[in-house]
């Protein structure tokens, strides 16, 4: 009797919770659990054959003396400094260009998004071909307009540029978010500014940009985090495992090599912990920087 009444009162709630259950269990088992397990693993020596042995902070003590790890951190930071702003500016500029919902701009929107849906591996192989210094179409196109081709993936400095370049094409996600953000700006705001005598650029800088700044900040955060997984396949294929001369040895590539090549899971896990820390610091810096920038706007007005 009481059970029946309890059920009558709570059946809705029980059903809703049961709908959530697969999602929450999945998050716990596949995302949160592994995320935390990485911390525990980083304190061990583990080769996935023998049982793990306690190593305390030995892995972390070793990290700063690991030449390749230091190179990987440097490369990852350089990649973020180059790729994140380029991808953001590109996405924002294209969104601004294609903001008006005309028929033609709808087609172009789809074309802009197209490279983003191409499988990472195929995209990497395509760019390995495009950037081929002798036979690749990009150098041949440059030659056509009288520019000497670059060595691309053969030379460490141009290899870094090559990887950033191929990632700029896959900016579809940021592009969509920028379109949505621009669409949400009150259409009267820019009109008001135009009446007040502001030019297109000053309206964009003074009115639209501050309005969508929070969205752009989230986009920068997301892209920074994403960069710690996005450059793995390019490094694997175009860099043939982090080359030339470790120029594309990014953190994901080194973590992969250490764990699945040398079976040093504990040591590799300590690098992922370092990666969390580095990500945290960058996000904090970006947040502080944009805050100052935003305040600057406030004082301007």
């Amino acid at each position: 009797m009481t059970l029946a009444r309890w059920w009558q009162r709570n059946s809705q709630r029980v059903a809703l919770n049961s709908m959530l259950l697969p999602y929450l269990i999945g998050l716990a088992l596949l995302v949160i659990g592994p995320g935390l397990a990485g911390f525990a693993l980083s304190l061990t020596d583990y080769n996935a054959i023998q049982s793990p042995s306690w190593a305390r902070l030995e892995n972390f003590r070793r990290l700063p003396h690991d030449q390749i790890f230091r190179i990987a951190v440097f490369n990852s930071l350089l990649y973020i400094v180059l790729a994140v702003p380029l991808r953001l500016i590109g996405a924002l500029a294209l969104a601004k260009l294609l903001q008006r919902p005309r028929r033609s701009s709808m087609v172009v929107r789809a074309i802009v998004y197209l490279p983003t849906v191409i499988p990472d591996l195929a995209w990497a192989l395509i760019w390995l071909w495009i950037l081929n210094p002798l036979y690749g179409p990009l150098n041949q196109l440059l030659e056509l307009v009288g520019i000497d081709g670059l060595a691309w993936m053969v030379d460490p400095s141009t290899a870094r540029i090559g990887i950033v370049l191929m990632m700029v094409w896959q900016l579809g996600e940021g592009f969509i978010v920028c379109l949505a953000a621009l669409g949400s700006v009150d259409p009267d705001l820019p009109d008001q500014a135009a009446i007040d005598g502001g030019g297109t650029w000053s309206t964009f800088r003074g009115i639209i940009l501050p309005t969508i700044a929070p969205v752009l900040l989230i986009l920068v955060f997301r892209d920074t985090i994403f960069s710690f997984q996005a450059n793995f396949v390019p490094a694997l294929i175009l860099g043939k495992g982090g080359g030339p001369d470790y120029a594309t040895m990014y953190l994901p590539m080194y973590i992969y090599t250490t764990a699945f090549g040398y079976l040093r899971f504990g040591y590799a896990a300590s690098m992922t912990v370092a990666m969390y820390a580095i990500t945290g610091i960058i996000l904090l810096l970006q947040y502080r920087l944009t805050h100052r920038w935003h305040d600057g706007f406030g004082r301007h007005e």
Partner: protein, 283 residues
Amino acid sequence: MTGSGDMSRRRGRSGLWFFVLILVCAVFLLPLYWTVVTALRETGRPLPRHIEWFPSPAIWGNFRTVFEVVDAGRFALNSLVIASVAVPATIVFASLAGFAMSQLPHRYRVRLVAVSALCLMVPLTAIWIPRFLLFKEAGLMNRRVALMVPSLMGTSPFFVLIFLWAFSTVPKEVYDAARLDGAGAYRIWAGIGLPQAKAAIGTVGVLAFVHYWNSFVEPLLLMRTSDKFTASLGLRTLYSLDGTNWPIIMAGSLLTIVPVVTVFVLAQRAFLRDLRNMDRRVG
């Protein structure tokens, strides 16, 4: 300012606008175009020293060669099987979770959205190793089922959030009326929620298909024997067999690209429009 002067200026601007549009299209289509040109090139001929805009002669047999060199049919079938299980499962479980979140009291919803957003912030690189060890312990190594498992949680918190937004647009009274009629939560989800969330189903369906078809790192870590390889993993095998035979490598790449691009082109209208409207719905 005379009327005709204004008009010609406007025409000049729109001419410039079209020129820029065409330039953007060219820049974004060029990599794919070069892929097609190279994929159709004769394999025996020395590689070009000057830019080639058209393959002459166009060798369509290169695609057949891909199937002869590697078991491409098998790879494609594996990816198709995985996607055809994982995509519907993703839609079911992501929409269930999104629906429940839309119906729960506000304070729970806020917490669940926060947890979802936080989980979206975890770089996949950081969970490769623990996930690999977990799947190994669970006996899922070299089993295609392992690649479908994430669909049981809706694949990505992002998909759950898309459904939450979609279900939140339905007025609360509609749900309440159904509840007063005695409909249970599952009945309301299937009968009222899902029909209202067609655009979200389409969006998540496309994104999930792209995710599972394109997936490379997970099968790279979990699949061992080539009979379990997915399309992307198979493409890597093709590349490792002869890394200089560019026409064949590009033909193989095109074969992995065609299914996703087809799905995307068929669905892009609904997809791009839906994502664009998303933030207005949240607000």
